[in-house]
């Protein structure tokens, strides 16, 4: 078995679901003839035809709206945002129309909106965003954020099969950076709503997701040289969040560092901290601390971007501070 990249695993997930279920189709900007800006959908139009891989105008609201209409009628649309930054153009359609559809009108809207997120790639303010917090607040949407090759595939397949609308956030820094063996042709499914224990430890829990899973693992390796045993929990799904897995880890280590690449204020870490406070306060031996991006739009120059984003050494420093608390 050959190693595949995160991006290839995602593509294979899409391909398998399209082959398995003729209701699945893709729509987005440059997804067909060109194969997507990052080539995630490369080859799919050739294989499945232009009725199932639809190149659209630059109209994110219309793309999501049309996907919602198709989903009501029993289709399984997968929408690509060329960069996830552009999902804000469809914010109304996702939060007001799609998210409320089942609750207000009993409408099934099984669609997936996916797209490349995140920084560390010198993309500047509009090609580097993390958008999870903007949608995390709206009941009715599920949000998944794979960090590994297996989950890139397993979560896209589960998202497509899910009866609810799912925002699938894929990290472009991971696209070709992480590789792993995947069993050929196996039905790799990652359950939505289950976190993954990425590394077991005793002294400190790092709760994280997306690209910073890898930064946290790197930090844990370095900390192990000091004799610190760090647990890393990869959330994988942000909505619905796996509270039980978080509390299990907190009860084990009693110290928590929440790490995310997104900006701090109103970010997911705040909600995780609140849940730990409500559900596991008596197990804590230290304050719940955060490592996140600084609260600025993400700048372009490498010196600026590296400064703003959380780095492995930030996690190491914060973990050492917590260990001494």
């Amino acid at each position: 078995m050959a190693d595949v990249t995160y991006l290839e695993a995602l593509r294979e997930g899409l391909r398998e679901e399209m082959a398995r279920d003729e209701r699945v189709f893709i729509l987005g900007e440059d997804v067909g003839l060109y194969g997507g800006a990052f080539k995630v959908t490369e080859g799919l139009m050739e294989q499945f035809g232009e009725r199932r891989v639809i190149d659209t105008p630059i109209s994110e609201a219309a793309i999501v709206g049309a996907a919602a209409g198709a989903a009501h009628m029993g289709m399984r649309p997968v929408v690509e945002m060329q960069f996830i930054d552009f999902i804000s153009c469809a914010y109304d359609m996702l939060t007001n129309y799609v998210a409320t559809a089942r609750y207000r009108a009993g409408l099934s809207t099984p669609l997936v909106v996916r797209g490349p997120c995140g920084g560390y790639v010198r993309g500047g303010p509009f090609h580097s965003q993390n958008v999870e917090a903007a949608f995390f607040h709206t009941p009715g949407l599920k949000i998944v954020y794979p960090a590994t090759v297996a989950d890139a595939k397993g979560l896209i397949k589960s998202a497509i099969r899910d009866e609810d609308p799912v925002i699938y956030l894929e990290h472009k820094w991971l696209y070709r950076r992480v590789k792993a063996e995947l069993p050929d042709g196996a039905d790799v499914l990652t359950p939505i709503g289950e976190a993954r224990l990425a590394r077991e430890g005793r002294d400190l829990s790092i709760v994280t997701y997306g690209a910073t899973v890898w930064k946290a693992l790197e930090a844990a390796d370095q900390l192990a040289q000091d004799g610190m045993s760090v647990e890393v929990l990869d959330l994988r799904t942000l909505v619905p969040m796996d509270d039980a897995a978080i509390m299990r880890s907190v009860r084990k280590t009693s110290k928590v560092l929440i790490v995310h690449e997104d900006t701090r204020t109103g970010g997911i870490a705040g909600e995780i901290a609140a849940r730990i406070n409500e559900q596991a306060f008596e197990w804590l031996d230290s304050p719940i601390m955060r490592v996140t991006a600084h609260d600025v739009p993400l700048p372009y120059a490498p010196t600026l971007e590296d400064f703003v984003l959380p780095q492995t050494e930030d996690i190491v420093k914060a973990a050492r501070w917590l260990a001494k608390y």
């Binding site: 219309a62 209409g69 198709a70 009501h72 007001n96 899910d162 609810d164």
Partner: protein, 355 residues
């Protein structure tokens, strides 16, 4: 309906042919839907004044003709054509198969209403019967119905979708994005642009710098037409043509219907912004139901007595529907929690509620 005396016919004359391929029975059925819409709304006004309607009441007075006629031009029944009404298209929902008691229950926020008290007025749907209520964000239903029409196209089903947009709604981004996507994909979609002269209190000249809605739409490469929205048979014929064209795979058509919103945005609105005499003029000279009745009778297509019978039956139907639901219970408070997702099945109850 209007009362009138039959002309003293000295010589019997042949009734002229009924236009648009309609039968006498269909003319009467259209009349029934027009009357049903108006009578139902009059009942809602009465219930509103008794504080039985929860929140606002939105009427379609003056727009019943285009709502009923455009919907009537579709293929109706289970898994046939599909439409999405705005708040002033109650008539179109009734034509597609919504029942007065559903509307009454919605407006009174009953547990038994189609949305279980979760949503307002005409904001509900029936995917099998082919109607899907709007959300309040105007323009959003254009992409959604484009997606429904796209589904018909992808599956090779000979079905058509129809969506309404008001003069104000054509200023939204989703209207333009959705119409363009539909046009590019050549999906079977009919868009009814309702020029009803008011977007809440804003007149068209503050909404756009062109004269007509069709002027806004010219750039999308689709056929457009303009029709007198208070001429029931003209709206029917134009929509029928557009729907059949869409059914043949020839894509989107935009029909502008010129009409007039004779009530306020909602019942609370005193319409002080309307020029003096305008409401009265439209009511007197250009009521869609009055005009339709005159046409039916002038051409001897139907008898006045048949229309009076329909009026009586509609009144009885609305009375019975009101009696059947006015005392229905409100939703149980805890019924607010389930159904945000298929899974998990319900939102958790907050901890302090069980202290």
């Amino acid at each position: 309906m209007m009362s009138r005396t039959a002309p003293a016919a000295l010589t019997p004359r042949e009734a002229p042919p009924i236009p648009a391929g309609l039968t006498r029975g269909q003319l009467l059925e259209i009349y029934r839907y027009l009357r049903l819409t108006r009578t139902l709304e009059e009942r809602l006004v009465a219930l509103y004044r008794q504080s039985k309607v929860i929140g606002g009441l939105f009427r379609s007075l003056g727009q019943e003709g285009e709502s009923v006629a455009s919907a009537y031009a579709l293929e109706r029944g289970r898994h046939k054509d599909f439409l999405s009404p705005l708040i002033r298209n109650l008539g179109s929902m009734l034509v597609m198969g919504a029942s007065p008691i559903q509307i009454l229950r919605q407006y009174m926020a009953k547990a038994t209403s189609p949305s279980g008290g979760r949503e307002l007025n005409v904001h509900f749907g029936d995917l099998e019967l082919g109607y899907l209520g709007q959300i309040s964000h105007l323009g959003d239903m254009i992409p959604v119905l484009a997606g429904i029409a796209l589904t018909f196209k992808l599956r090779g089903e000979r079905r058509v979708a129809l969506v309404y947009i008001g003069d104000g709604g054509t200023s939204t981004g989703t209207f333009h994005e959705g119409l363009n996507l539909a046009a590019v994909q050549r999906v079977p979609l009919v868009v009814i642009g309702e020029y009803n002269h008011w977007a809440y209190s804003t007149p068209p000249e503050k909404q756009f710098a062109v004269r007509h809605l069709v002027d806004r739409v010219r750039g999308y490469g689709i056929p457009t037409s303009t029709v007198d929205g208070n001429d029931v048979l003209a709206v029917y014929a134009e929509t029928r043509g557009a729907a059949e064209r869409a059914r043949r795979g020839e894509g989107v058509q935009f029909i502008e219907v010129k009409t007039y919103r004779r009530t306020g945005h909602a019942e609370h609105d005193d319409q002080h912004y309307v020029p003096a005499g305008e409401l009265e003029r439209w009511a007197r000279d250009n009521d869609p139901i009055d005009r339709y009745v005159l046409r039916l009778l002038d051409n001897d297509w139907v008898q006045a007595r048949e229309l009076a019978d329909i009026d009586a039956r509609v009144r009885a139907e609305i009375d019975a529907a009101t009696d059947a639901c006015v005392d229905d219970p409100p939703p149980q408070p805890e019924s607010a929690l389930p159904g945000v997702y298929a899974d998990p099945p319900a939102a958790p109850l907050h901890w302090y509620r069980s202290l």
